[in-house]
Amino acid sequence: MSALPTVGSLSMLLPFTLLAPLVAMLLIVFLPKEESKTIKIVAAIGMFVSLALSLYAFYTYDRVLGGMQFTLTIPWIPDLGVSLALGVDGLSLPMLLLTNLIGFSSIYASWNMEKRVKEYFILLLILIAGVMGTFIARDLFIFFLFYEIVVIPIYMMVIIWGSTKRVTKEYAGMKLTIYLLIGSAFLLVAMIALYLAAAANGNPTFIFDELAARQELYSPAFQKVAFALMLFGFGSLISMVPFHSWSPDGYAGAPTAVSMIHAGVLKKIGGYGLIRLGVYVLPLGAQFWAPVIAVLAIGNVLYAGLIALAQKDLKYVVGYSSVSHMGYVLLAIAALNPTSMNGAVAMMFAHGVMAALFFAMIGFMYEKTHTRNITELGGLAHQVPRLAIGFMIAGLASLGLPGTVNFIAEFSIFISTINVYPVLTILGIAGIIFTAVYILRMIANVLFGPRRPEWDHLTDIRGPELVPLVLLGFVIFLGGIFPNILMGMIDTGVTSSGLAKILETVSQAKMGGLF
């Protein structure tokens, strides 16, 4: 271990990206709480800087070279091998960009917030920075640290600014937090076990790549157990059936911005972790558990998809729909081949953008009509056409319409899993029919139909409120029409890192002809 910081090219890019929202947060701390307009503007500027920097990173990332770039390593606790190691590759860069896209939009989705504005934006910025940190960390310890940071603001935001419908917001916040904490407790055990196993040659480290390079130190039995712990931790985070029940309740109770960030990016830490830690570091464990993941994944797709049909609350529909879509990510991870990893990351990105747009639109709708009950809404396309357009874009993306980035993701998942799990894949594709049914029903009942006089007073979204619609809608279509922009980046992450090489060793994972 070198004691000196190792500095790559443009190494300060990521720290600045991470610090921008935190600096904005500090500024807000010193602003008087009556200045709500200034607070919002400062928050928006902070996130804008962060978004611009991550876009810059996305464009300057050298796809030919691949691997971890913009790296920065500062030893932190040398005795334990902990170092403040940042860096991004083709897997984490899309997630970083996603975090900032959604973070930036979520500020604007909360533009009409009036209750305890100062505290709200402070917590929101901490939350965004925490999520961002997990994606740019190259060190398991740092990854875990940021992951824990995320939990606290979420809990407070849900119970203070949340809404009580089927379940109280206190219950929702508690459920969300306890699930996250239990998951992270299992992760902690797995992390320590992994660390101790990797330190067997007397050179302790937490760096992902280093951990992955020490394959020979992990016995198959160890890999199975450690992966099982991770599967529980990350699986409950990505709402794998049957550990999914926090997700619809949590989204329904949370304020708009938290729903956006939680469904959009935080949930994706589960999938990202399963790939980065599970598959990459413990391939044999992944191979052992893959069939289980695949079966549970189809449970997600069909079970949650069917339940979404029975929902009356808009947020519950999208909540269950997001559980259902995470099934595709899990199925792709379980297929353990490079194309499916591409599909999994693309699906996380696509679903994140779509879910964030959906929750933003539902948030505005709730703000204006004070209801989320589908039976009470109707004919909103008359009074709020732009809101209706945003809602429709999100809905169509959700059912995987070609031309949206979601289709690309679904297609690359199906095409790569059919070989490994033919029957499960067919069942998964059948899930798109359920998706079509609940999405189209919801769109029809909320947006279309006769004009309702009780909504005549509503004003359409305008000004800052348009930012989520324009930004996220643009990304949905850009990714769908020119898929190489996004997919090329992810492909770099899959093929030029060690991942593809590791996958080759386990690619024979199959459940036989049965599934």
């Binding site: 459920k175 306890i178 049957p242 999914h244 029940s245 079970y303 069917l306 339940i307 979404a308 049909l309 029975a310 929902q311 081949n337 490079p338 194309t339 591409n342 004919g379 396309a381 008359h382 169509l396 059912l399 319409l401 070609p402 031309g403 289709f407 690309i408 297609f411 690359s412 199906f414 095409i415 790569s416 059919i418 070989n419 894949t425 067919i426 594709i429 059948a430 798109i432 029919i433 079509a436 049914v437 189209l440 029903r441 029809a444 947006l447 279309f448 139909g449 006769p450 004009r451 898929p483 190489n484 997919m487 090329g488 992810i490 492909d491 899959v494 093929t495 593809a500």
Partner: protein, 643 residues
């Protein structure tokens, strides 16, 4: 390669551009929106005509070697997809038909949609549809085709629900999307299987791969695999082209504006399924079982829909069932191996069915948005242009020479018999009889007979009649493409081209069947020799079943509302009470044990002290007994060591 063919991408690009312009720039200005849209589609029409002429000039060269341009679109590990354009006689014909009908419909809409609040939105959707449909026609690979296939489905959804404030329109749009989605499930699956097997989705590469696989006997099970894939892919066309059992959405789709029905649900989008089967004919041709299935489904749909059409009273619904029936015709034509016949019928049908829909629109506007044919009557005198052009359409669909439908129907029926499918031939012939009957019924009731004075009708404006005249022209001359000097089949065919003269015996039989239908309708609805009521009272059950479309909709609704929604409710119950119940149960156990254990905290310091003291004593003794050797913990031993 002809230079012009490289610019084919402009044909879909222009309407797409027009869509973007209308959506983001000229939304507010109605006049500008429609002008841009019509200009774009007319330019595309010009290009399509130029390409069609070049194809005819190029002759055999282009038939053997289609002009293909590809650019890379998606390239990741294990998945490489191109976007491109293919110009061969098939796509050239489709380009011409689509751009022609689309531009006619857009011009017609100037009159029909006059004063509508959603004018700009309407033209935006129209442009988007035209662009997607043309993109689909030009697709060089299955994925590209699928993408545009879904986009035309989206446009269909948007345009059926164009008057979204009507509950019926909203429900119809939803139904159309959901039903086609069921078909698309199969198409997507088939596509994935194909890619998995052959590693490409490019039509040319697939055809080549399939050929080599069949040449190589060692590839066991290929026929079975191909059959499965053919069946799956055929599910898409079943949904899109309204074949039984996924036909239910098309009649309901008539809730959209009438020009939309003419363009999307009669002439262009619904034939996309037929086009797809034609494009992938190399696959279906490799599997006799699949072809047989297609023939069966097509023939069944043809007669099934025609029988329903007899008992309908809504002018647009009659036309819709007629469309279903004619789509069945095209489909079984492909099934019996009449590739050219099917494509030919696709073209002529596009002309005369668009004509009749637009004519129906003109009528509906004239009688102030009534659609029941019994509310109309005697319109011939008041609306001569609409009446004459509609008459041409009816004659064409009834297969009367020298109108377009005669040639295409005749070729299909002749091929069916020659290729050894006598049952399908009989079904087709009987359908031709039914078609002539119900179309003439429609025509006689609407245009003949006594005038209804309350209607105050007048002829439609020029913007609506000119498209009618142009389409009527093509409904007559379109069929002449089959005549020996400009042989349609020479350009559009599959496999080896064989010249076939018109079989005048079979043609005569078809004409007689058509004449019988016309005569029967004339006897019932004009001369009143036979009372329609008496037939209904004679066969009440049959009439009721036909009137209610064989109760297929009711069955589907029952399945959706009871089976699917019921299942969904059960699972929701399971999720809340069992899955969540376990989670909440764990929480309850934790809370319960905490409640019990806290009773030990009495708050009495003395109790705590006592527990503490005795615990220390117990611990001390445990150590002393258990680990007696540990002298450090045994003070007595220490004392004993002292001198």
């Amino acid at each position: 390669m002809h230079d012009l063919f490289q610019w084919a991408w402009l044909i879909p690009a222009l309407p797409f551009l027009s869509f973007l312009l209308i959506a983001f720039v000229t939304k507010r200005s109605k006049g500008l929106s429609s002008t841009i849209s019509i200009l774009a589609i007319l330019t595309s029409l010009g290009l399509a005509i130029a390409i069609a002429l070049s194809i005819i000039r190029a002759g055999e060269e282009i038939v053997e070697h289609p002009a293909i341009v590809n650019v890379n679109w998606l390239n990741i590990f294990g998945l490489n997809i191109d976007f491109g354009t293919i110009i061969d006689p098939l796509s050239g014909m489709m380009l011409f038909v689509v751009t022609l009908v689309a531009s006619m419909v857009q011009i017609y809409s100037l009159g029909y949609m006059h004063g509508d609040k959603g004018w700009s939105r309407y033209y935006a959707y129209q442009s988007l549809f035209a662009g997607s449909m043309l993109g689909m026609v030009l697709a060089t690979n299955l994925l590209q085709l699928y993408i545009f296939w879904e986009l035309v489905g989206l446009c269909s959804y948007l345009l059926i629900g164009f008057w979204y404030f009507k509950v019926s329109a909203r429900e119809a749009a939803k139904k159309a999307f959901m039903t086609t989605r069921v078909g698309d499930f199969g198409l997507l699956l088939g596509m994935i299987f194909l890619y998995n097997k052959f590693g490409t989705l490019d039509f040319a590469a697939l055809a080549a791969a399939l050929n080599t696989n069949f040449a190589n006997v060692a590839v066991v099970g290929t026929v079975g695999y191909v059959t499965v894939m053919a069946f799956l892919i055929f599910m898409g066309p079943v949904g899109k082209s309204g074949q039984f059992p996924l036909h239910v959405w098309l009649p309901d789709a008539m809730e959209g504006p009438t020009p939309v029905s003419a363009l999307i649900h009669a002439a262009t989008m619904v034939v996309a399924g037929v086009y797809l089967v034609a494009r992938m004919y190399f696959l279906f041709d490799a599997s006799p079982a699949a072809l047989q299935f297609i023939g069966g489904i097509g023939a069944f749909t043809a007669i099934f829909a025609a029988s329903i059409a007899i008992a309908q009273n809504d002018i647009k619904r009659i036309l819709a069932y007629s469309t279903l029936s004619q789509l069945g015709y095209m489909m079984f034509a492909l099934g019996v191996g009449s590739f050219s016949g099917s494509m030919f019928h696709l073209m002529t049908h596009a002309f005369f069915k668009a004509l009749m829909f637009l004519g129906a629109g003109s009528v509906i506007l004239a009688v102030h948005h009534k659609q029941d044919i019994w509310d109309m009557g005697g319109l011939w005198k008041k609306m001569p242009i609409t009446g004459w052009t509609f008459f041409i359409g009816v004659m064409a669909i009834s297969g009367m020479p020298p109108f377009a439908g005669f040639f295409s129907k005749d070729e299909i029926l002749a091929n069916a018999l020659q290729n050894g499918h006598p049952i399908i031939y009989a079904v087709g012939l009987f359908t031709a009889f039914l078609t002539a009957f119900y179309m003439c019924r429609l025509f006689f009731v609407v245009f003949m007979g006594p005038e209804k004075s309350e209607n105050h009708t007048h002829e439609s404006p020029w913007s609506m009649t000119i498209p009618l005249i142009i389409l009527a022209f093509f409904s007559v001359v379109g069929g002449w493409a089959a005549l020996p000097e400009h042989n349609f089949a020479f350009f559009v065919h599959f496999g080896e081209f064989e010249h076939e003269a018109i079989n005048w015996t079979l043609a005569g039989i078809s004409v007689i069947a058509g004449l019988l239908g016309i005569g029967l309708a004339y006897a019932i609805y004009v001369k009143k020799l036979i009372s329609a009521e008496s037939i209904v009272t004679r066969f009440p059950r049959v009439y009721k079943v036909l009137r209610n479309k064989y109760y297929v909709d009711e069955l589907y609704l029952w399945i959706i509302h009871n089976v699917m929604d019921g299942f969904s409710k059960v699972l929701y119950w399971f999720d809340i009470f069992v899955v969540d119940g376990i989670i909440n149960g764990i929480a309850l156990i934790t809370r319960g044990s905490a409640k019990t254990l806290r009773l030990t905290s009495t708050g009495q310091v003395q109790t705590y002290a006592m527990v503490f003291f005795f615990a220390v004593v117990v611990l001390f003794m445990a150590f002393a007994i258990g680990e007696g050797q540990l002298t450090a913990l045994n003070p007595l031993a220490t004392l004993g060591g002292v001198k």
